[in-house]
Symmetry: C2
Subunit: 136 residues, 2 copies
């Protein structure tokens, strides 16, 4: 379907349930979801969703992932309080990646840094760009 | 190693080759890489890299992915002219995702939209937010 849908002009509308069903999940039924702070543009983390967590996220406005390590739904911030409120959900041209524009309360990373992307590589080495706890 | 490295304070340095070797590739030897326009913050696309394309990207300053569909190196813009210049390469806390800050010439998407993330979902439907060719 995405080969057809990608040609649609701006403002075209698609039915939500069909769209969710046609997304290209991997063999485990999962699709990667990038979380970006909606106003600053900072990319915070990447995690995984399935069709039910996508539906729940749209319905509740609070981001729900699928935890691959714990094999269960992971309602971001449920234990830490560092919730992600959904501002906008997007999908890419071939339907195999989601982009979530969110409003992240406090740190997104389990190290309590604001963003998970704190390793910076250049041609010679890799540098840690922020301290544990700096997102609190 | 990432369980140890994630605790390092800001400005800590790691050896590049060790870091690239320790990244958590999937069963196909690939790691997802998010491309973000460095100055506007726009998330442009997500694609895949292997250890050699990471090394090449750092060495040349031009982003090189691994194409899963064509099973070959994919030097972004080689045929289209829409090159991605690397500004900064980052990795996340558990080393299974890369974030590339890039300077994208023209459209990043094969539909010639600027960004691949042109499907916008809400609770009721999905809307196309830009026209084919609008990134040219």
């Amino acid at each position: 379907m995405f080969k057809t849908w990608e040609k649609l002009p701006a403002q075209s509308q698609l039915e939500l349930d069909t769209f969710i069903a046609e997304l290209r999940y991997n063999d485990d039924g999962l699709i990667p979801a990038i979380a970006q702070q909606h106003d600053t543009g900072e990319v915070l983390m990447m995690a995984w969703m399935n069709d039910r967590s996508i539906q729940e996220t749209l319905n509740t406005g609070q981001v729900c992932y699928w935890s691959r390590s714990r094999q269960t739904y992971w309602r971001k911030g449920e234990s830490s309080g560092h919730q992600q409120k959904l501002v906008s959900m997007r999908a890419d041209c071939d339907g195999d990646t989601l982009l979530l524009l969110v409003d992240q309360k406090g740190p997104a990373c389990h190290t309590n840094r604001r963003s998970c992307f704190f390793f910076e590589a250049d041609q010679e080495s890799v540098r840690v760009n922020s301290d544990v706890g700096s997102g609190l």
